[in-house]
């Protein structure tokens, strides 16, 4: 496997892992709070809908869209996704935004659903199915988008060299490995994600998406990057340096941390949920 295909695999793996983690949290909440039948029905229905959407639009993208136009569209979207994630991660590292505590969110959603009188049932619950369906479809679409765009770019780069294009397969493999990892991690710990350093993941993915978006978007516009694909490393280093400088600039504006009370030290999750 070439270096570019490895880069596609890693980028698809990391980006997809973030999306799967978010979708999996909601499915778990519905499964535990309402019932697993509703949670899995919604997740399976969303997976089916995703398969149809990807089959239709994925093929259309490959066959009909001119490469430079595709690079520009992909570049715009990747830069937007990348900057959005990077901004949140920078604010969290600078202390201006609370770290994303998935377990606190999980407990909070369970508490909210119980407060509405929702509880375990054996029959399929429309609210549970809809909640699970919506989250899996939305996050799954983002994964599909990541796989198709990363894969297409690798295909086109390889195709020019006469090699067998298998970029989409490699990107899909990266996403599939991320799915297995998230499901495995979720199975090991009932309330998921607390041990996955989400902000570090989002920061890395933000830098990578912005880098790839800048590179591909620039190519689509006609910019000839110095040393072609090797310039990706320069862009990664540049965006990383800019992000670290921005964290250092913002950190002095973070509110001072208040020392936790003895009750909060005994039960930190409960204290966060009640805030």
């Amino acid at each position: 496997m070439t270096a570019q295909l490895w880069a596609v695999f890693i980028a698809a793996f990391l980006a997809s892992a973030v999306e799967f983690v978010e979708a999996f949290t909601i499915v778990l909440v519905v499964g535990v709070t309402i019932n697993w039948r509703s949670a899995l029905a919604g997740a399976l229905a969303a997976t089916g809908a995703l398969a149809v959407i990807v089959a239709i639009f994925g093929t259309a993208l490959v066959r009909f869209v001119p490469i430079d136009a595709l690079r520009i569209v992909v570049g715009v979207l990747l830069v937007l996704f990348g900057l959005k994630w990077l901004k949140k991660a920078i604010l969290r590292y600078a202390g201006l935004k609370a770290m994303h505590d998935e377990e606190a969110i999980y407990e909070e959603q369970i508490a909210e659903m119980r407060a509405r009188g929702e509880h375990h049932q054996t029959r399929v619950d429309p609210f549970g199915v809809a909640t699970s369906f919506k989250s899996v479809l939305l996050e799954g679409l983002e994964v599909a988008f990541i796989v198709i765009t990363f894969g297409l770019q690798a295909n086109n780069s390889q195709g020019a060299g006469g090699a067998q294009p298998n970029g989409i397969l490699i990107a899909a493999l990266g996403a599939f490995c991320a799915l297995l990892l998230v499901i495995g991690a979720g199975a090991l710990v009932r309330a998921p994600l607390q041990r996955v350093p989400e902000n570090a993941l989002k920061f890395t993915v933000g830098v990578m998406l912005t880098t790839f978006g800048t590179f591909w978007g620039g190519e689509g516009l006609g910019i000839e990057w110095w040393h072609e694909d090797l310039f990706l490393l320069v862009l990664v280093a540049f965006y990383l340096a800019v992000s670290l400088a921005l964290i250092a600039w913002l950190r002095p504006y973070a509110p001072p941390k208040v020392a936790p009370t003895p009750e909060e030290l005994d039960n930190p999750i409960a204290s966060e949920v009640t805030e």
Partner: protein
Amino acid sequence: MNAILRGLKATYNFFAGDAILLIAVALAFLLAFALERASMPNELVAVVFVACIVGGLVTTLARELRGRPRQR
């Protein structure tokens, strides 16, 4: 009408969710496209393109500091 607006808002939130980032990225691509068509040097187009993207990130982060006094 409400459904259309909700759909537009959901689309905006899905793809951008931040007007400054959206404007900066649009400006980066439009400006670079115009400079490229005007046969400007490749290095200049690349620098302007990346500067607009970074400028968007810096501007939206600077907005987060509005009303926040320096703590240390």
